[in-house]
């Protein structure tokens, strides 16, 4: 049953040292505010899962929260590489990080299997691809009818998933719209799910019946954080802040600059600061 609570409490209640955690978003609706709260709370030894780790994962990795990363594409969208992640992989700074690397198809299927309560996902994939050599979690099953050898990966089952969405109704049902990505599956695959939303509305009775809505009883906590996806965007609320993604490339290039930026913009900040960050971006 979804409980409305401040983000600080939602993170404290639902994310623990050593957890496997997903902060999912596919360019759209990245749960930045939730990740920043996790950084402020100094959560340690996380196994971070995400198809497309980008700036906010660079920040968590750079702050030393992650012992392992499960992913399929790690980059700063539209800009280039993730420099804090590279420093962790190439130089074990600030701590070594273990990688479990997949393809998008594998990760999408693994979340789907997690949402579906299955132990593994079966799909046609990794044919001739070398990830199958370096990742012990890529195996095979044989179709008992055709004899075709298919790829299998374990289901993703996070201890906690964090997503950002457009809105909740008063009961805690949550609407996701636009590029919906893998968010529904990431929530349903998780033991605990925290959703930050732009706003709460009275009810969803006017919505089309086939939209992506997560029922309140499939969610653990809902926190209202306007602007909580910044510098990512929320379809219908504010656009992507491309300048911040570009700026990140410089900040992340330097360990000291990075720490100073994190201190200023994350450690000393609060979830309430996000609203101001999107205020100047204009509506969409």
């Amino acid at each position: 049953m979804a409980t409305f609570m401040p983000l600080k409490q939602a993170v404290a209640d639902n994310l623990r040292d050593g957890d496997t955690a997903a902060f999912e978003g596919f360019t759209h609706l990245i749960p930045t505010a939730a990740a920043h709260e996790a950084i402020r709370q100094g959560i340690k030894d996380l196994t971070l899962v995400r198809m497309t780790p980008d700036v906010v994962y660079d920040q968590m990795i750079g702050m030393g929260l992650a012992k392992k990363l499960v992913f399929s594409y790690a980059g700063n969208p539209g800009v280039g590489l993730l420099r804090r992640m590279r420093d962790a992989v190439e130089n074990a700074y600030p701590r070594p990080i273990e990688l479990e690397e997949h393809s998008h198809a594998a990760m999408a299927n693994a979340y789907e299997a997690g949402a579906a309560g299955l132990p593994c996902a079966v799909f046609r994939g990794y044919l001739g691809a070398e990830l199958a050599r370096v990742n012990a979690n890529i195996k095979q099953v044989t179709c008992p009818f055709s004899g075709e050898v298919l790829a299998a990966v374990p289901a993703v089952r996070p201890d906690a998933t964090f997503i950002h969405a457009q809105k909740a109704d008063r009961k805690g049902n949550v609407l996701i719209e636009g590029i919906i990505g893998i968010q529904k599956e990431a929530v349903l695959a998780a033991k605990r799910a925290v959703v930050t939303v732009e706003e709460v509305v009275e009810d969803f009775s006017d919505l089309h019946p086939n939209l992506t809505i997560l029922p309140h009883w499939a969610i653990t906590a809902v926190s209202v954080v306007p602007g909580g996806a910044h510098p990512s965007y929320t379809h219908g609320y504010y656009p992507r802040d491309n300048a911040t993604y570009l700026e990140w490339d410089k900040i992340a290039a330097d360990r000291e600059l990075f720490r100073a930026w994190m201190d200023e913009n994350v450690i000393k900040a609060t979830p309430e600061d996000f609203a101001a960050r999107v205020a100047t971006l204009g509506a969409v």
Binding site: G78, G80, A108, E130, L131
Partner: protein, 270 residues
């Protein structure tokens, strides 16, 4: 810009756009030339279907997206589906006619590396990774590759097989159970390459205007094979150039406006 009135990069984009047809369904993946696909859509192939792996099907953006998940892709799409559906029903389901891939390293058989430079466990450079590429490479009916030529990029042996092209050549794809065609075209800033029908080695079939065989060889890490009759790629038409440049200008203006600051055009995205 050369004195020919267009840059090698413009020639590359326009040559790639010409390879696309109105009934193609293109999967515009990581690092792929969105520009080529959209120039095709805005010139000779208005009915082309563009799919981005974020879930947008049949999208028609007015400006180039900075990332594969830009809002405009969704706003102009016929429909936007979840990411699992995208990979299961649309890519794995065999509905993509052309998968467009870029490469950090490419070999003569169209095998691609976007994972690491150096050893996987102890890399010299950790690259973003494969994203959708491993399954685009096997599930799309054909693969087109675009990249600017360089000895660092076009190498004799790639450090990691992110996605499988023709492997060691010949019928290697078939032997490992892949029944799609694989890399069918390589479009660089200097030339157009096609796989040899037998060996599957990329072979230069057309040189862009003013480009010499030597220039192609100097920027390629393997000994280049040329087809028996090498054509000259027709220069960009005025319409093609105007369409591409207008698209880029609109893109620049739009992204400046949205972000309140200059945003450079997307190279890699996630």
């Amino acid at each position: 810009m050369s004195d020919r009135g267009f840059t090698p990069n413009e020639m590359m984009t326009i040559a790639a756009s010409r390879a696309l047809k109105g009934d193609d369904v293109c999967f515009v993946g990581i690092g792929a030339p969105s520009a080529a696909c959209n120039v095709a859509r805005l010139t000779h192939a208005p009915d082309i279907t563009l799919i981005y792996e974020s879930g947008t099907i049949g999208t028609a953006p007015d400006v180039l997206p900075l990332s594969i998940g830009d809002g405009e892709l969704c706003e102009t799409a016929v429909t936007t589906v979840s990411v699992p559906e995208m990979f299961r029903y649309w890519l794995q389901g065999g509905r993509i006619t052309i998968g467009f891939l870029g490469a950090a390293q490419l070999d003569r058989f169209g095998n691609i590396n976007t994972t690491v430079i150096g050893d996987y466990d102890n890399p010299k450079t950790r690259l973003p990774g494969g994203g959708g590429a491993p399954e685009i490479a096997s599930s799309a009916q054909k693969i087109y590759v675009t990249m600017a030529q360089s000895k660092r990029g076009m190498v004799d042996k790639i450090d990691f097989y992110t996605s499988f092209g023709h492997g060691e050549g010949g019928d290697h794809r078939k032997r490992i159970g892949i029944d799609t065609e694989g890399p069918a075209l390589l479009i660089t800033d200097l030339a157009i390459w096609e796989p040899d029908p037998e060996t599957k080695e990329f072979t230069v079939v057309s040189l862009h205007p003013g480009v010499s065989r030597e220039q192609v060889q100097e920027t390629c890490g393997w000994t280049v094979k040329f087809a028996d009759g090498v054509d000259e790629t027709p220069a960009p038409t005025a319409l093609e150039l105007k369409t591409l440049r207008d698209l880029k200008a609109r893109t620049e203006a739009a992204h400046k406006g949205a972000a309140g600051s200059g945003a450079k055009k997307g190279s890699k995205d996630g």
